[in-house]
């Protein structure tokens, strides 16, 4: 049987075999604990470090560092036993969320090699480096670069490259060599069956019948194997050997347009970043123009030399291509960041992605035509980038008679051009609606009101500690809640004017008929 590779993917499997303990050492928690335990003996002799988590009713070791491993500790050992063996063992509680965050950060940093990256929890990352390894001096060069970057940050790791996810995963964890070029079958044969990503039960069952290595099952008849151990076993085997394709699901959507720039010497100044950005945008422009697209959502990814990645996204209200516009957008975005961009030791890779593109017909370059709309959109984009999308809004009419729902505020970048105000005007004129206030309070404020007759307007009321004497009133206009919502009782709205000429919109929540003491609220003010 020859192994037929269905796809031409090349998978790099990265295994951070001591992720939890490396995290604790990197955060300096281990040193703190050691110093607290024995301030006198600051011996550099390393003490073992372990992470324990609860399994059933027993605390067991779930991660150990290299020292602990040398001293004979093993994963899965009960914590009490481990403590008995090594009284100087430092133990930390398992923190799966912190590990996941760290893994996510590392995966972000790996984005510099390829956009096709999948997290492989709890402690692995898969990269599809097919077609991009030559940019880093071949597969060996890429692996060496990745390893040196992560080693410098203090992570232990194992890397394997193979034609399938299964083979790369198996080799990274169980294989002897760091790299593997081809010939999955031959290389995988001596590895234990656990390397096929099987559950522990199946592995134990196979071991009972004397099958311990992948080579043991490659040439066995398939039907009896499937009957006894299920089809999952054969599928995993086929996937590892490349007989069945296993797709890699990238953790971030792959952008349709990407431009990037690498630097031998990192850059740190904001002006430099913006200058690079404009250069990247002009490179994107020609690609966008060729397909007749414009960018609606853009992302700027700044890769720091120490592995951290800053991602800054910006949206636009119409598809744009112009590099100057894109630069202006990100200039506002950078200026408006709550915590300014921290370049650390500088950025050595800047990437500009168009996350969402929309068709945008080529523009007639203006003879001073009516480009007011475009001009306004540009202003809205600038303001939204600096202040936030939800702070720049337009009013959109809604088909509702409930005052607070009649006029919705929608981000100006996405608001429709023909908001339904004409429909509202037609409705107002036919229904003979009474006046609506100029300014509406977000939430009606309770007032103390005194009404003369049960269904009449208030005689005087107190709002925000000031007493207002009503001299003129108009109403009531009764507004009922929608029957399908629990809007509570009907509201009787009055437009009242006080002695000084202030005009308010008040309502009585509920009728005297139904409740003993209906509450009064102030909902808005008129000019």
């Amino acid at each position: 049987m020859s192994s037929i590779s269905v796809s031409r993917q090349r998978i790099l499997s990265l295994w951070l075999n001591r992720l939890s303990t490396d995290r604790i050492v990197r955060q300096g928690l281990h040193d703190q604990r050691k110093a607290a335990a024995s301030p006198a003996s600051s011996s550099p002799a390393a003490s073992p470090l372990a992470v324990a988590g609860k399994h059933g009713n027993v605390e067991r070791l779930v991660a150990i560092d290299a020292v602990a491993e040398r001293r004979g500790l093993r994963l899965g050992l009960a914590l009490a036993e481990a403590r008995a063996m090594h009284p100087d063992l430092t133990v930390f509680a398992q923190d799966a969320a912190a590990d996941a965050r760290l893994l996510d950060g590392i995966a972000d940093g790996c984005q510099r090699y390829t956009p096709l990256i999948a997290a492989d929890p709890p402690d692995g990352i898969l990269l599809d480096i097919g077609g991009c390894a030559h940019l880093f001096g071949g597969e060996a060069g890429l692996a060496a670069d990745l390893a040196s970057r992560l080693n410098a940050l203090g992570f232990a790791l194992r890397i394997a490259i193979a034609g399938t996810i299964g083979a790369a995963w198996a080799t990274a964890r169980f294989g002897p060599a760091m790299l593997q070029a081809s010939g999955e079958e031959r290389k995988l044969a001596p590895l234990p069956l656990a390397a096929l990503r099987l559950d522990a039960e199946t592995v134990a069952g196979l071991a009972r019948v004397g099958l311990k290595r992948i080579g043991d099952i490659i040439d066995l008849p398939r039907a009896p194997l499937a009957a006894r151990f299920g089809t999952a076993l054969l599928r995993q085997l086929d996937r590892a050997l490349g007989r069945e394709h296993e797709p890699l699901t990238p953790r971030l959507p792959v952008a349709p347009y990407v431009a990037e720039q690498r630097f031998a010497e990192p850059i740190a100044r904001e002006e430099d970043v913006l200058a690079v950005l404009e250069r990247l945008a002009s490179r994107l422009k020609s690609a966008l123009e060729r397909k007749g697209d414009g960018a609606r959502h853009l992302e700027l990814a700044l890769f720091r030399t120490d592995g951290a990645v800053a991602r800054i996204a910006a949206g636009t209200s119409r598809p744009i291509r112009n590099p100057q516009d894109i630069r202006a957008l990100f200039a506002e975005r950078l200026a408006g960041l709550a915590d300014p961009l921290d370049p650390g030791f500088g950025f050595d890779l800047v990437r500009l992605c168009v996350l969402t593109a929309e068709p945008s017909p080529p523009e007639q370059i203006g003879f001073g035509g009516n480009d007011d709309a475009a001009e306004l959109d540009r202003l809205v984009d600038r303001l939204s980038a600096r202040l936030g999308r939800r702070r720049v809004t337009r009013l959109v009419a809604q088909d509702s008679h409930i005052p607070e729902l009649a006029s919705a505020t929608v981000s100006a970048q996405v608001a429709p051009d023909d908001s339904d105000w004409d429909a509202f005007r037609a409705f107002r004129d036919t229904a003979d609606l009474s006046a609506r206030p100029l300014r509406l309070l977000a939430k009606p404020e309770p007032i103390e009101a005194l009404a003369m007759v049960p269904d009449g307007p208030p005689l005087r009321f107190r709002w925000r500690r000031a007493l207002h004497e009503v001299v003129a009133a108009e109403g009531p206009e009764r507004i009922e809640g929608a029957w399908w919502s629990e809007g509570g009782p009907a509201r009787d709205y009055f437009r009242v004017e006080d002695k000084t000429g202030l005009r308010f919109w008040l309502f009585r929540h509920g009728l005297y008929r139904d409740t003993k003491t209906p509450l009064w609220f102030l909902h808005g003010t008129f000019a």
Partner: protein, 263 residues
């Protein structure tokens, strides 16, 4: 570009005589050009329009303050009445978050009733007064905007430099800039006019009628000051509020029945 010097030298004796009227003509052109560019929005009240030199001048900053905090609705109504009569381009209302929470956010149907089509309005909420001023300046640089309203609470952060910047931005774009304040400001400002606008009791005999304003012009770069009571109606713009009677109803005999109108 240089004109060849010999020619100038030969004309030297008559230079003063020829150039003087030329200079005057240029100056006249410039002056009239400047005046022509600066549109005005008349209030429709001759007494006030004369004082302002034709009406509220576009391409300038106007400061409008409410006498007390609760009167801000009247002051905003006065500002929006001008916005409604400015050209049909977009209007921006930039306000501090606190102002929108305390005094209420603009309500579309209410704006429409005042004459400002809600489609024209872009609302901007800013966390700080500094951001309000920044956004106003940005908006004033945009050609597609005809009115920029900046609403500030309290009496802070707007010094002479800030108002000067806003005035210059407004002059260069020709847009109408308003600084709407909840209390009368105490600092000096570079605004073209400064108004104190509060509500006035309405003149209608039955119920609250159209909006009425007690308007005081506190500062005017072009002329004298004054105080008036105004009534605003959407179609007629402003008029002096006096004890005028409501138009009387037609005699009952020809008046179409309401039910018939609906049918």
């Amino acid at each position: 570009m240089l004109v060849s010097p010999p020619l100038l030298v030969s004309d030297a004796p008559s230079e003063g005589k020829n150039l003087h009227p030329l200079r005057q003509a240029i100056r006249a052109c410039e002056a009239s050009g400047a005046r022509g560019e600066a549109d005005v929005i008349p209030l429709g009240v001759p007494a006030i329009d004369d004082v302002l030199g034709g009406g509220l001048i576009c391409g300038a900053l106007h400061e409008i303050a409410a006498p007390r905090e609760p009167d801000i609705a009247a002051a905003s109504g006065f500002v929006l009445a001008f916005a409604a009569h400015a050209s049909r381009k977009a209007a921006l209302w930039i306000a501090e978050d606190m102002a929108l929470i305390e005094s209420g956010a603009p309500h579309g149907p209410g704006l429409d009733a005042l004459g400002l089509a809600p489609e024209r309005l872009v609302m901007v909420a800013a966390a700080k007064s500094r951001e309000v001023l920044w956004a106003m300046e940005e908006a004033l640089r945009c050609r597609a905007v005809s009115v920029v309203i900046g609403e500030l609470r309290g009496d802070h952060a707007v010094d002479l430099v800030a108002t000067r910047r806003l005035s210059l931005a407004a002059t260069s774009s020709g847009a109408l800039a308003f600084l709407l304040r909840s209390t009368p400001p105490s600092q000096a400002s570079a605004a073209a006019t400064r108004w104190i606008v509060g509500p006035a009791p309405s003149m209608a005999p039955h119920g609250p009628g159209p909006p009425c304003f007690a308007v005081e012009l506190k500062r005017n770069r072009r002329g004298p000051l004054g105080a008036w009571m105004l009534e605003y109606r959407r179609e007629q713009h402003f008029r002096l509020a006096s004890a005028h009677p409501e138009p009387l109803a037609q005699p009952a005999l020809d008046r179409p029945h309401r039910a018939a109108r609906v049918a």
